[in-house]
Symmetry: C2
Subunit: 612 residues, 2 copies
Amino acid sequence: MEAAQALGVDISTLCAGKGTCGKCKIRVMGEATTRLERTESEMKHLSEDEVQAGIRLACLTRLGESTVIYVPLRSRVGSQRLQTEGLDVPVEPSPLVRKYRVTMPKPQLQDSRADEDRLLAALTEQYGLPELGVDFDVYRNLPVTLREADWEATAVVWGNRIIALEPGDTSDRCYGLAVDVGTTKIAGFLLDLRSGAVVGVAARMNPQIPFGEDIMSRVTRVMMGGWDAVNELQGAVISGVNEIIEECCEKADVKPEEIYELNFVGNTVMQLLFLGVWPRHVAFAPYTPAGRRGVDVKASTLGLRANPGANAHHLPVIGGFVGADNVAVVLASKMLESDEMVMAIDVGTNTEIDLGNKDLVMADSCASGPAFEGMEIKFGMRATTGSIEKISIDPDTFDVYYRTIGDASPIGICGSGLVDAPAEFLKTGLIMPRGNFVTEMTERTDRLRKGLNGWEFVIAWKKETEIDTDIVITLGDIRELQKAKGAIHTGADLLMQRMGVTDESISKLVVAGAFGNYIDPENARIIGMYPEIPLERIEFAGNLAGTGARMTLMSAEMREYAEEISSKVKYYELAADKDFQKEYINSLYFPHADLTKYPETVELLRRFGQKI
Amino acid sequence: MEAAQALGVDISTLCAGKGTCGKCKIRVMGEATTRLERTESEMKHLSEDEVQAGIRLACLTRLGESTVIYVPLRSRVGSQRLQTEGLDVPVEPSPLVRKYRVTMPKPQLQDSRADEDRLLAALTEQYGLPELGVDFDVYRNLPVTLREADWEATAVVWGNRIIALEPGDTSDRCYGLAVDVGTTKIAGFLLDLRSGAVVGVAARMNPQIPFGEDIMSRVTRVMMGGWDAVNELQGAVISGVNEIIEECCEKADVKPEEIYELNFVGNTVMQLLFLGVWPRHVAFAPYTPAGRRGVDVKASTLGLRANPGANAHHLPVIGGFVGADNVAVVLASKMLESDEMVMAIDVGTNTEIDLGNKDLVMADSCASGPAFEGMEIKFGMRATTGSIEKISIDPDTFDVYYRTIGDASPIGICGSGLVDAPAEFLKTGLIMPRGNFVTEMTERTDRLRKGLNGWEFVIAWKKETEIDTDIVITLGDIRELQKAKGAIHTGADLLMQRMGVTDESISKLVVAGAFGNYIDPENARIIGMYPEIPLERIEFAGNLAGTGARMTLMSAEMREYAEEISSKVKYYELAADKDFQKEYINSLYFPHADLTKYPETVELLRRFGQKI
C-alpha cells in the first residue's frame, strides 16, 4: 500500500490500511516475495480461488526486493470522469458537420455568376465537394455575408447542406454537443468535432422533476394538462440543456454559436417530451413509440442555444421502454459485434438490460426507480462533492469506513455507497437476506438503533458530517434498495432464462449508470443486483449512454450503425412474462431467495461467519 | 362575316363590317366562290402576297354555294384566358406532391411498432414507396393524428417526405398554386394536381408598386430602408399572393389547407424580394443574383396561406436581369428543343428576349417600362372589363372603331389597344415615323386637337365612355410607347446581330405578355416592336411565364428541365454592347429609322397612301 502510494498508483482503501475493508486487493506475481502471513481478517475477504490466484490485500502484504504486483481495475479508485462521461470508446472522427475555408474570385461583368454558384463552385474546386444545398437562412444572407467577408469565408457543411457561412477563416472552431437526457439527470459533453476531444462537461438534474419524479407521473401530468403541459415539460428540459450548453461553453471558452450539431439520447418518454410529441401512447399498452428512427430537426426549432443552422439529432429508440440511451449503450458496448454473449445493464430510474451477441441482442426494461440515483433514500444524493461513495464496515468493531467524493465532510450517500451499505450490512450480520435489521446487534454496536421512523444504522456521526446530523441508512432505505435491485435482477434473470443463457456463458457484463465514481462489483453482486457472474468479467462503464452519444456525435458511420441497432435489437416485454411477479419477489432477497444461484456469495458470507 | 356569326366562329371586327378596320381577314379556299370585287378599302389592308394567297376581308366577301373558308388565328377574337393564363401547353402530370390513402393494422402487444414505422410500412406495402422522411410537424402530431384517424389516413408526400397526414381519405383533394410575380402584376393559378386542370385564376396589381413602380426604385427603397424595407416589400408581395390564394380558393371551393405546393416565377429582383434576400447587388454591376438555382422553402416560412407542410418553390433564374419568368418562357416555348431558330419576347415592365435553338439559346433583357401594361399612359389601364383592347381608325373619315373587354363602356386603354393606336395613327397619316402628330390633320378630323398637355387624339368621346371624359392618346403617351417598343426592338435586334441571325431564319416568334386579349401582330410589327418577321410565324402566347409556372408545378420532370434551362441559357449583357445607344435611338422611330428593315410595312403604309 505504501509502495503504491509512493508510486502514485491509486489503490482503493477505506479502512486506511487496517486490513478490514478488503478494498485493496492486489495480485502478487512471481515468487520472490516476502509475505506476511495471511491474517484471519484478510482471509474473510478472499475466496478459495483468489487465494489460489495469489490475491492479497495490499495493506497486509510486505514486498520483497523485486516483487511484481498487479492491481486489478476494481481495486483502483477510478476517476470522476466515468460517472458523468462514461468509458471512453474511441472512434475515428467523421462528424456530420465539417468546416471548409473557401476563397472565391470577386464578381465582375465577365463573371457575374450567382453568389450561390460562386460559393459552390469554389467548394467543388478547392475540396471536391459535390453540389451542396444551402439552408434558407444562409441563402437569405448570402449576398451580404460574402461581401462583408470579401469573398473569403468558411462554409459549415452538414451532410450535403451548407448550414452556416462565416466571414474569414473559422475552420479551427467547430464544436458539437452530446447530451444524455435522463429521467433524473441530464449530462452534456462539449466536443471539438475535429479531434473528438471532450472540452467541457456539465450535468444538471432534469428540470422536469418537479412535474413528476418518474416517467409515468410526467405522462400523467401531460394527460391532465394537455398540450400546454407537453410544451411546459419540453420547455423545462430544453432550458436544462441550454444551461448545460452555457456551462460547457464557459468552461471551454466556446461560443454557443460555435456549436453546429447536438446529439441526444434518452429513454423513449424523454425523447417524446424533448421533441414535444404527445406521449400518452407510449405509456400504455401496447406502448408504441411515435417514431423508432432517429430524428433530425433544426436546433432552433426546439429552442436550443446553438448556431442558428445547427442540427439537433435524437438517436433512434428501440421500443416504448427501451430508448435511444439503450441504443447508445449497445453501440458503445459493441455487443452486436461480439462473438460471445455480452450483457449490459444500464442502471437508472428505468434500467435497461441487453443480452446477446452478433447474432441477436434482446433488450428489456424495468422500472427500478431512482434509488441508486439517491432519490427516495433518506440521505441519498447524487454523486457530487461530499457524497459518500464507498462504505466498509469492520466486522468486529462495526466501525464504518467511508470515502466521500472530493474527500469533503459527508453530506449524504450516492449510488455506489448505497450499493455498499446493504452488502456490508449482510457481510457483518447486521441484516438478514430478507433485508431486516438483526436487532440483537444493538448489543454490539450503538450505530444500530431505533430512530423516529424505525430501525436505522449510522454511517457517519453528526460530528463527522457537514450537515450537523447523523447520516443513517434506514430500514425504509433498505426496502427501496431491495425494490430497485430486485427489479434489475428480475430483468436480467428473465432475459437470460428466455434466451437460454446461463451465468457461465456470459463473457462480459457491462454495468452502466451514474452511481458514483466507482461501484464495487462484488458488493453489487452480494446484494444480488445481477447474476453471479465472475468478477473479472464485470466491467463498469459509468455513463455509457453518454459514451454512445459522443460516439454518434463524432461519427456518421456510428450514427448509421445506431439506426441498424435500433432495428435489430429485439424488445422483450417483461410485463407480459408469466414468471415476472414470482421472479421479482424472489429477487427482493439479498442476494436472492434461491441461494443456489449465488454459491460464491454464500461462501463469502460464510467466511464472514454468517450462518446462511 | 354573317355566315361566321351564324356558325359561331369568332371572326374579329371592329368596324362592324364596314370594310375599314381590316381585322377580318380570311382565306377563300378553292374556286366555287362568288366574289364581290375587291374595293379600294379592302386593297389597303392586303399585301400583294395576301392577294395572291386568296386572302380577303370577310365583311366584303360573299359566299357561293360550297365555299370553304379558312379563318387564320389572328383573325379570331381569342379568349380572355390567354392574357392571364397564357397558352395552354399540356404536360404529363407528375406533380411532386401526391396523396396516398393508407390503412394500418392497429397496434397491439404482439405488434407494438412505432407509429412512424407502421405508417411507412403500410405505404411501402400498399404503394411500393421507399422509406420516406417525415416532416417534424407531422412527426410531432403522429400519435394523435393516427389514433383520431383510427388508422386510416391520407399521407401527403412531397418528394421523399411526408409533409402532411390527414385523417380519413382525402386523396381526391390535392391542389397546387402556380404564381407569376410580375413587377406590376401578380397572376395566380390554382390547379388540381391530379389532373392539371386550372380550377381558379386570380390576378392583382403587385402591392409593392407603392414602394416604387420599377425594379430600380424598389431596390433604392431597400437601400434607404435597410432590412426593414426588405421585410416590408416581402410582406407586401406575400400579402398579394395570399389574396390571390383566397380568391382562387373561393372560386374553386378549395381550402387553402388543400394547397400543398406553390410554384413561383418572377424576375430576379422579384425573386429576391419575394424570398426576403438583400437585393442591392443584383441591381448594380456586375448584377450578380444571390442564387441561380431553384429554391425550396416551407410556404409557412414565407408566411403564405397554404397547408402548414406545403412547399414553396421558386424556379431558377438565369442572371441578374433574366429571371425565373424567363426560364418559364423558354420552357413553355420549347425553344431549347427546337431544331430551328425561335425568338421569344416576353413584354413586361422588364422585357426579356430569348433567341436560339437546341444548340444555344441566348437571352437579354431591356427596361421597356410598364407602358404596355397601361402604366405611365394617360388613360392606360390593365386589361380588364371596360378597357379598350382593339382600335381601328377609318383612313377616310377617321372614325374610331374599338372593342372593349366584356363589351362594356370604355374606361381606358389596355396594352393591345396601346399597340393598335400608334399603328393606326401611322397607317392613317395622323403621325409620322418620328412619332409626332401631323397637325395639319386637324383640318380633317376634330379628334386631333391640342389639349391642356399638348397634342392628343380622341379615341372615345365622353358620351361613349363610362368615365364622363374623352379617352385620348396624348403625344406623351406616344413617347412612352416609343421608348417601350424601342427598348424591346433594340434587345431583339442586337441579340440577332450578335448571334448572326436574320429575320428570315427565325422560324417562330413567340410574343408573350399581358397586353390584353389578343394583340394585333401586324400592328405590333408596324410600330416596330419587333423585327419584320412574316406574320404567320408570329404566335401570341399571353402570359407564357404563367404557362411555364403551371407546367413546372405539374411536372417534376419539367422542374428538372427548368434547372437545365437555367444553366444552359447564356445571358447577353445588353448594357455592355457598344451599339446599344445608337440602336436604341434608331428603334424609337415607327417602325425604325432604317426603313429597309421593314419592306412589308413600308409597302402597307404606301398602300394606305402614306408617303414614306
